[in-house]
Structures are given as C-alpha cells and as structure tokens.
Amino acid sequence: MAFEPKIIGFLCNWCSYTGADLAGVSRIKSAPNVRVIRTMCSGRVDPSFILKAFQIGADGVIVMGCHLGDCHYQEGNYKTIRRIPFLKRLVKGFGIDPRRLRLEWVSASEGDRFARIVNEFTEEIRSLGPLKLQVHTELRKTIHEPVEVV
C-alpha cells in the first residue's frame, strides 16, 4: 500500500477554516490527508501542539491563518509568523525536516487556494516519506500531562 501521509492542519476559525469550508461547498477536490483542527486564531497555536503532533505520528503540520492585516483579532497572525520560523529551526534539531512544517495564509474567499496548498503540501510530504521519529513513551507521557481544566 502506498504511503499516505498524515498531516495535521491548524486552521484559524475566521479565514482558513471558512476558506476550507468554501472549498468543500464549492466541491473543490483536495487531498484528504490533512486532518483539521480548528482554533480561533492562528495565534492560538501553541508551539507545543506542533511538536506534539509530530511526536504522536504526524508526517507534516500545516498552520493556516488570515492574510497579514486581515486578522480577525487584529494582530494574532503576526504572533504566528514569529513563532513558526523559530519552530522550524527547533524541529530541525529534533531531526525533523523543517519542510514538514508549513505556514500559509488562506482567506475566507480562497477556497481554491486552500485546495491547491493542501494538494501541494500533501505531495511534498509524500515525497519526503514517512517521519520516523523515535519517541520515548515515558517522554510522551510527561508531555501529555497537561493541567486539567477545572
């Protein structure tokens, strides 16, 4: 069986998620590999989420937000644009190809762009092959011990 990459997509609620919705409503065909997690803003994407995603077996992570200047929360995506390049350097240290992490801007009107990016990224990950990350199960546990919400 061919390698089907598992990709986690963090999509902002206002632009990218709506854009993805538009792609669906418009019946635009796109790769099914991206598994979407909705956040209110791309700025909400905690770096640990991304590391966690790789840790538990994602072959690629894509973060999508509003175009710069379009942020529903005024400047959340500016926070994101500072975090992702830093994270790329970090994951390289962990032995993960930084190409497996990507940041893209997709607006609510860009259903076609969403589909194109998803397809493109899926193909890229596919060519990179599966991410074989040795994960210590104990380590996984410690990370996976967040504070419980009261």
Binding site: T39, K79, R83, S109, V147
Partner: protein, 586 residues
C-alpha cells in the same frame, strides 16, 4: 452718497463709485476694452474717456477709474469725446485691422477706415491688443503673477518671465478666459489614447454636486480652486451676499462612538478601457453606462437630450451588454442589473430620438417582477435585439461614414451570421464591481471578501446581511451586484437586525474566553502586552495577571504564549486540543 449729472441725467451713487459704474446705473453705455469687473481698472485703452465738467472747467478722464465727485456734470458722448474715441480706435484699427473686438468698437463709434497705416500692422484675427486683462487677472485675481509685459513703447508685448513657461502658472486658464481677442488660448490636450476625464463634469471649482443633493449647497473642489493654489481669487466670496463662503474650513476627522455598523459602501463600474476592442476612451461617442445615465438626466449637461459629441441626434445607437461581466478575463459573475438598465436605455432613447436601437446580449436575464413584461414591451417598440457578444467597435471607414460614425462587428448567434452595423453611438453596459478601496474598508472592519471581491456575508442563505464580526453588517452592492429592490430588502433586513440588538439592551458574547489559573501564574506579564484588546491586566497585590472577560474576544494568542501554561481558554484548552490531536491521529 454723491449726486452728479451724467449727460444731464441726475444720478446718486455712493462715494468712491467710478463714473463708469454710475453711468451703468443711469443706463448710459460707455465703450470699454480693458475694463473688467474682476480686477481694479487698468485704465489703458482710454476708450472709456468722458468729460468731467465742473463749472467752466472741463477735464478728460477715464470713467473706469475716475471716482464720482459731488456736483460734476459728466459728458459721455460730447464731440470732444467722440473725437478722442474715434482717433484711438483709428490707431488701434491701423495696427490690428482684423481683430473682431476692435472692428466692432470702431463700427460702434463710427470709424470706417483709419487715417493711418501702422508699420507694426498685425493682420491676425487673434492678435494681442495689449489691453492687459490677462496680466491683471493673473496678478489680482489668480495672484499667480505669471504674465507680464515685456519691452516698452511700441515693442510692448505680453510675456512670461524670461519667455519660458513658469512654474508658478497653475494652468487655471483665467487669462484665456478674459482675453478679448482669443490671442491666449487654452490648449486642451486631445484625450484620444487617454482615459477621458469625462466632459460632462462640473465646469467650475465651486458647484452643487447634484440638484438632488441634501443639503443643496455648493462645495468647493479644492484641487481645482484657484484660491487653494495661490491664495488669490476668492471671487465667489465677493459675490456671495450672505457671506457664506468660508475658505478656512478644513477637512475634519470626527470620531463617533457607535455600537453597530452597516457597511454599504456601494460599487464601482468596470473600466471599459481595459477592453480595447470596444474603443472606450479612444473613439468618440462610445460611452460607459454611467456617462450615458448622466446624459439622460434632465439636469445633466445635455438637459436629457441624447446627443453625439458634435451635438447631433444619433441616427442609431448600439447598446452592448456584459462589459466585463460573464467574462473569464475580467469578472466571471453576472452583474445582474445590466440587462434591465440596457432595456431602460432602449426605452428612453426610443422616446427621445428617432434613432434605431440595437441591443447586443449574451442571455437576456429579465428575472424580476414585471421585468419580462418590460422586455416584451421593448421588443414591441421595434428595438433590434441581437444575441451575440460584440467582437469590436471601430471607426467607420470613409465609405460608411454617412450611415454612422462607428461600426459594430458581431456574430448573430441565433441567425449564425456575421454582422457589421454602422451606428452613431455605442453605450457599454459596464459590470458592477467591488470598489477599489474595498480591501482597505474590509480590513478596517475585520470582514472577509468572497472570491468575486465583494464583502462576505456570514452565511449565504441563513445570514446574508451580517458578517463574521459582531456588530458589523453589510448591504447593497458592497455585498454583491443587485438591483434597487434587492438592495432595499437587504438594507431593511440589516436595519432590523441592528434595531433588535438595540431594543434588547444587552449584548451576548461568545463563551470562548481566556482565563488565568492564578496558582500557576508566575506574574511574568508576557501576556499583558500581547493582548490586542488590552483585556489582560496585572493584579499588583496578588502578583498575577487577570483577564477581563468582557473585553476578551477569545483569540488565544495569550494562551499560546504563556510559558507556565497558567493562561487557558474556555472551549479551546490545551487539553482539549491535545485530545483532539490524539483523536484524529488514529
């Protein structure tokens, strides 16, 4: 008040009035040439001379600048004055035999042929007669001081400083306007090949925008107004009796606090010069829909008459649909209103002219109530309706000029024939498109746009007037092309939505909010400066940060940034997202 006699007619005028003005009041005509109400009398042509008689003393003075004196008797047409005027006009006629204004004045005072021949004779019809009006208007009214006289005596001539085009010239055209012979001309650059600045616009720098404007007061176009370029003129203020003109007024930015906003910023029309095949901007008598609408308006530049550029009634008019719409090179959407206004044009042109009318359409979309019936009516009037997109509009070859100045080429797709139709006028039905500044407006309100560029509604079916941003609504063509009934319906709906909020008196907010788990908070204050809504404050006694939930919008930027995971958010806690992650990785 001063009382004097002019040609034995008693006149009473205020002090400092010139004799010329007083004579005007008494209904006595005095010939003038260099005089204008616009500026101080220059007093050089000497045609307005009169005799001011006091007792036995008589003095020849120029009436334009001689102030009235108590008790004098002014003779405006005595033999002596006639003799002086005739001689002066003879001198002028000897030098400028073909200038109309000189010839007319000479005829008026009875000079047929001058006794002299001038060695400086200038036979041009538009020769400069050195009246100095242009110099005065430029100096006193415009205050640009660009024009002046050069050389002296018989060699005197109008000149620009050092004979070169001056940077101080604001190209206002006042000099050409006052020139009595047409020696100074305002050369309007031919608009061919350029985007036309449509000639139907206001002609002056102060104008009433439309007759329907509320309040109906004139506005000053500061970009064209002489006063705002040189500080001069102010002529409008001089003639305004109630003193209503205030040049000191500045554009003001007023801040108004509101709770809800309806964005109804309208649309632009597609610029047809992008489709060169239709000749818009390069051929005469090719109009955009908006220009044609102005022409049809009874308060417009032609008073509602349909006229070609040279003022004739067109023999035939072509109305071309779908300019920029339903076209994958420009806008793929249907502009929705064009079919119906095109039919309206046909109706009005039919009413006002005897022209034969052609409609070129792709599909006729008469979708609304009563629209189809109107279409049938138009067909009954004999409007020629041709299904086919126009390939090009070209200037008629000389052989075809007598049938029409333009030729429309098109394939009649129903008859399967190629057509070449000579017409005098082409009206383009430009598509409605999103305004040029819509992106800036969109960002201002944090709203999105749909692929066609118009503002995006929250839901196309269930919520077509509100947006993703609470309290911001959209209506009209800002949201997408629509005709007037649809706009009214949408705007009414938006207004109702807003009113319901107002009557409710309170605002419901999303439960998605951030909050601080104080026991984990180290008091580092990183989150404080991150929040774009300044919802996070630092509690100095507890040494922890605190979220004001009424201000927080729940973006979660602070949550992601918190180094001690003390900040978390309802509905989007780390645990929830991580659980989600776990779930979808199965």
């Amino acid at each position: 008040m001063v009382t004097l006699k002019i040609d034995d007619k008693q006149v009473q005028v205020p002090e400092d009035t010139s004799i010329l003005k007083a004579a005007e009041k008494a209904g006595i005509w005095i010939p003038t040439l260099c005089y204008s109400e616009l500026f101080e009398p220059y007093g050089v042509c000497r045609l307005c001379v009169v005799e001011a008689v006091r007792g036995k003393r008589s003095r020849v003075v120029t009436s334009c600048n001689y102030p009235v004196r108590e008790g004098i008797n002014v003779l405006t047409n005595s033999p002596k004055i006639q003799w002086i005027r005739k001689t002066i006009l003879e001198l002028m006629l000897a030098r400028w035999p073909n200038v109309k204004v000189v010839k007319d004045l000479a005829r008026d005072v009875g000079v047929e042929k001058p006794r002299f021949v001038s060695l400086q004779r200038d036979e041009a019809e538009d020769a400069c007669i050195l009246c100095g009006k242009c110099v005065s208007v430029c100096r006193e009214v415009v205050q640009a001081n660009v024009l002046g006289f050069a050389y002296r005596g018989i060699k005197r001539e109008i000149a620009l400083p050092f004979g070169v085009q001056s940077e101080a010239c604001i190209v206002c055209g006042a000099c050409a306007h006052v020139c009595p012979t047409g020696h100074i001309k305002m050369v309007v650059e031919d608009y061919k090949g350029k985007k036309p600045e449509f000639t139907l616009g206001p002609k002056t720098a102060i104008y009433v925008p439309t007759l329907q404007a509320v309040p109906r007061v004139p506005v000053i176009d500061a970009d064209s107004c002489i006063h705002f370029k040189t500080g001069g003129c102010e002529y409008c203020a001089k003639v305004c009796e109630p003193n209503a003109i205030n040049f000191g007024m500045k554009d003001e930015v007023e801040e108004i606090e509101v709770g809800q906003i309806l964005v109804a910023t309208g649309f632009d029309i597609f610029d047809a010069s992008a489709m060169a095949q239709y000749g818009y901007g390069t051929l005469d008598n090719v109009y955009s829909s908006l220009e044609f609408e102005m022409m049809l308006n009874s308060t417009g530049p032609t008073n509602g008459q349909v006229l070609t550029k040279d003022g004739r009634e067109p023999r035939s008019v072509a109305i071309v649909h779908c300019i920029g719409s339903r076209d994958t090179n420009h806008h793929s959407y249907c502009s929705r209103v064009c079919c119906m206004y095109a039919l309206k044009y046909a109706h009005l042109v039919h009413d006002r002219t005897k022209a034969s009318i052609y409609q070129f359409y792709i599909d006729m979309r008469a979708f609304g109530k009563g629209y189809e019936e109107f279409y049938v009516r138009i067909l009954d009037k004999g409007v020629k309706v041709i299904r086919g997109k126009v390939a090009e509009v070209v200037e008629a070859p000389p052989a075809q000029k007598d049938e029409g100045s333009l030729v429309v080429r098109c394939e009649d797709t129903l008859a399967g024939k190629l057509l070449e139709i000579p017409v005098d006028m082409v009206v383009l039905c430009n598509a409605i498109e999103a305004r040029r500044d819509s992106d800036a407006v969109r960002r201002l309100f944090s709203i999105s746009k749909s692929p066609d560029g118009f503002f995006l509604e929250r839901h196309p079916k269930l919520d077509p007037t509100s947006t993703m941003t609470d309290g911001v609504y959209i209506a009209g063509c800002a949201q997408g092309p629509k005709d007037i009934p649809d706009v009214v319906a949408q705007a009414s709906s938006a207004a109702a939505r807003m009113l319901s909020f107002i009557s409710k008196g309170e605002v419901e907010i999303d439960p998605v909010r951030a909050f601080v788990q104080e026991e984990y908070c180290s008091g580092c204050k990183i989150c404080n400066s991150l929040c774009p809504y300044t919802a996070i404050e630092f509690l100095a006694e507890k040494k922890v940060s605190h979220v004001n939930e009424a201000l927080c919008k729940g973006c979660g930027t602070c949550v992601a940034a918190c180094p001690s995971s003390a900040m978390t958010g309802h509905g989007f806690t780390d645990a929830q997202i991580l659980a989600e992650l776990d779930g979808i990785m199965v």
